[in-house]
């Protein structure tokens, strides 16, 4: 066990799985690290934020492949390679680039197993960065996990910490279905104790980062940390919260969410993706449909406005869910009392 950053945890997961299974390959723009540049230095960069650094040196050019800037071609090639026996981990860099290769994911990889009667396996992992808070502007800051969650046939992972990232990524690489693995770019330097050995965290099993009696908070990815901070503050005022990190948005651990709402009767959902048809609306609909009788207050969503992500820092900060916004939402549902019938 040692302290590792989110970046190191992902790098270690890739390294350990590449050592374990020679079928695991990496491909993407600059994953080999500036190899195609004029400097001649190999493995200099390791991806745009240094996540894959060192892997080219250890595993060589046959297993760590820099690709041209054509997402349609290499994501398609990765899907084909997966269908024919390799286990590719393709890096899409910023998830905002999904527009260039959505057909390869949505109409091809996601549907192979279904359309070929279960005979085709597609052990493909697509890694991508998501999220605002990095001043990366509207084309590099979106949180598009709801888009993938919407597509049947894909598994979608949104890790909330270094420990979670390593275990979920190894699980993703060993999974025989296509998995979208989304890393919040603001979290790469977050640190915590992470086992040195390989381990897996199963999909579809939510993690309760804390348990309380008053309000259930469901939060995704980086929002889990903010929700825990808000819960810490609220506890000092006697409001105890359960915080649920679903880990995967597809499959979604609906059972744990419903159980917790049944216990607390109050629900706040924190989701940094655009508010229409996002995970917050999905979870709210689930609870309204399956646990309406348990609710003691209206469901509250802490989500951004329905706009592109602003570039200006002050506007980006205003756009994002925050500890203060979560705290206010929880206080409002905790204080809510059903009016007595006349």
């Amino acid at each position: 066990m040692s302290r590792k950053s989110f970046r190191q945890a992902i790098n270690e997961a890739l390294r350990q799985e590449m050592r374990r299974d020679p079928r695991v390959i990496l491909m993407g723009e600059d994953v080999a690290g500036g190899r195609g540049g004029t400097s001649g230095v190999k493995d200099a960069w390791g991806g745009v934020l240094g996540v894959t650094k060192g892997l080219l040196t250890e595993f060589g050019e046959d297993r760590v492949l820099d690709t041209p800037i054509t997402e349609a071609s290499y994501i398609g090639a990765a899907a084909g390679a997966a269908a024919t026996g390799l286990r590719p981990v393709a890096e899409l860099m910023f998830v905002d680039f999904i527009g260039c290769c959505l057909d390869q994911i949505m109409n091809q990889a996601a549907k192979f197993r279904y359309m070929f009667g279960g005979k085709a396996r597609t052990p493909l992992v697509i890694r991508a960065m998501y999220g605002a808070g990095f001043n990366a502007a509207a084309q590099h800051s979106q949180a598009l996990y709801p888009l993938f969650t919407h597509i049947p046939g894909l598994k979608v992972v949104v890790p909330s910490s270094p420990y979670e990232a390593k275990g979920l990524l190894i699980e993703a690489i060993r999974d025989d279905d296509p998995v979208i693995f989304l890393e919040n770019k603001v979290m790469y330097d977050d640190e915590e104790d992470v086992p040195d050995e390989p381990y897996t965290i199963p999909f579809g099993e939510a993690n309760l980062t804390r348990e309380g009696d008053d309000v259930t908070i469901v939060a995704f990815g980086r929002m889990v940390n903010l929700a825990n901070q808000a819960a810490d503050r609220l506890e000092k005022d006697g409001i105890s919260c359960t915080v649920i990190d679903p880990r995967t948005t597809s499959p979604l651990d609906t059972g744990t969410i419903l159980d917790c709402v049944a216990d607390t009767g109050r629900l706040v959902i924190v989701d940094e993706s655009s508010p229409r048809c996002n995970l917050a609306t999905d979870v709210a609909a689930l609870v309204a449909e399956e646990a309406f009788d348990a609710l003691k207050a209206p469901i509250r969503r802490v989500v951004p406005p329905h706009t592109p992500v602003p570039f200006a820092t002050v506007l980006e900060n205003l756009y994002m869910p925050s500890v203060e916004k979560i705290e206010a939402a929880v206080r409002s549902v905790a204080a809510y009392r059903v009016k007595e019938e006349a």
């Binding site: 050995e197 390989p198 381990y199 199963p202």
Partner: protein, 374 residues
């Protein structure tokens, strides 16, 4: 000042503990307590444990509210005699908090504690050493099935004040290599023997819990020269019965909901099984090789739902001191297994205690061990 004021501080349950939550107060303000009375429940990242008063007096203040997380050494309450005024207590609290630094306790202990990986043949064994090997004899702690060094968190630091204490993770457990060999006590005892030699020890008092007790007995049989005395806590290997609901449940459980009821077999007071403890064990079970290793150990030791290994005969021939400690409400192994042993062997049974008396009756167990190895 008119009388004695005693600070009650956040205790350090185990070497890794840096902070704890005051889960609940057991006594109201104004209640008179004796040394050893339980005054609060402290929740750590490993377990919730009762905190016994270090002194006698009246609980005059509960400085820490229930639910508050505090660093080790922080003031949580104040004991004082009746003749001490409220103003004096207020001044004491103010002075204590003004001078308290949360890093002090950790710094004081850090020199005495070392976690390291020791090569034992092809295995890498995670070892946690504490105390001074120059001034006290060595005590080796062997945990049981599915456990790790944290099983000794209330034992190791207590014994380390006067002895050199070594806890380690068995192969397949904790942070040690996950290869378990054939999974038998004989195989594990050979690893322990090699570990003792790798640590350059001539002999040690050996404390074994549950499966660790069977391993200790095997060690006493195969390398008696290395064993100065035996302390067996709820040991396996002395009878046939075993609760396979625990063994199989522990192997199969893969989430909090399924693991928590299994872990409750370990203790009489079920509230000791904290959420963090369950999460810690789930994290261990996720590591590659753990579940297959546990299955190997289970099939080697408990085939057909019975203990396969009988080591009672060891106790008839082992000519050094032996002591057995057992919880009367053990739901995994039967305390009756300690019946009918040679009269020279002391057997202590703790009431209202389950399979892990070193956690549920930590003070009493530590006292027994300390007196035994003096």
């Amino acid at each position: 000042m008119s009388g004695t004021i005693t600070p009650i501080t956040m205790p350090k349950f185990g070497l890794a503990m840096t902070e704890g939550k005051l889960a609940s107060w057991s006594l109201p303000v104004g209640k008179e307590v004796k040394a050893g009375d339980e005054i609060a429940d402290i929740e750590t990242s490993k377990i919730t444990n009762g905190y016994e008063s270090p002194a006698a007096g009246i609980l005059r203040r509960q400085v820490a509210p229930e639910g508050e997380m505090l660093p080790v050494g922080a003031l949580i309450g104040v004991l004082a005699d009746a003749d001490v005024s409220d103003a004096e207590i207020d001044a004491f609290i103010q002075n204590f908090n003004d001078n308290f630094s949360s890093g002090e306790t950790e710094d004081k202990n850090s020199d005495a504690t070392a976690r390291k990986i020791v090569d034992v043949g092809d295995l890498k064994i995670s070892v946690q050493e504490s105390g001074n090997r120059e001034t006290g004899s060595s005590v080796l702690l062997i945990h049981g099935f599915g456990g790790d060094v944290s099983n000794w968190m209330l034992t190791q630091s207590a014994l380390a004040s006067s002895h050199h204490v070594i806890a380690f993770d068995l192969p397949g457990h904790g942070e040690s290599t996950k290869q378990v060999g054939d999974g038998t006590p004989t195989g594990f005892a050979k690893t322990v023997e090699d570990l003792i030699k790798a640590l350059d020890l001539s002999e040690a008092h050996v404390v074994g819990h549950s499966l660790g007790g069977a391993i200790a007995l095997e060690l006493a049989k195969s390398a008696p020269n290395l064993v100065k005395s035996l302390i067996l806590i709820a040991p396996a290997g002395l009878g046939q019965d075993i609760n396979m609901n625990f063994i199989n449940g522990f192997i199969d459980a893969d989430r909090r909901k399924t693991l928590e009821p299994v872990l409750q077999y370990l203790v009489h007071d079920k509230s000791l099984i904290s959420r963090q403890m369950v999460e810690g064990i789930i994290r261990y079970k996720r590591l590659d090789g753990v579940v297959s290793g546990l299955k190997t150990i289970a099939s080697a030791n408990f085939p057909d739902g019975k203990q396969a290994v009988s080591l009672r005969s060891v106790l008839e021939t082992f000519d050094k001191p032996v002591q057995i400690l057992w919880g009367e409400q053990d739901e995994i192994l039967s305390t009756k297994d300690a019946d009918g042993l040679p009269a020279t062997i002391g057997v202590t049974r703790f009431p209202e205690t389950g399979h892990m008396p070193q956690l549920e009756q930590a003070a009493a167990v530590n006292k027994k061990i300390s007196q035994f190895i003096e």
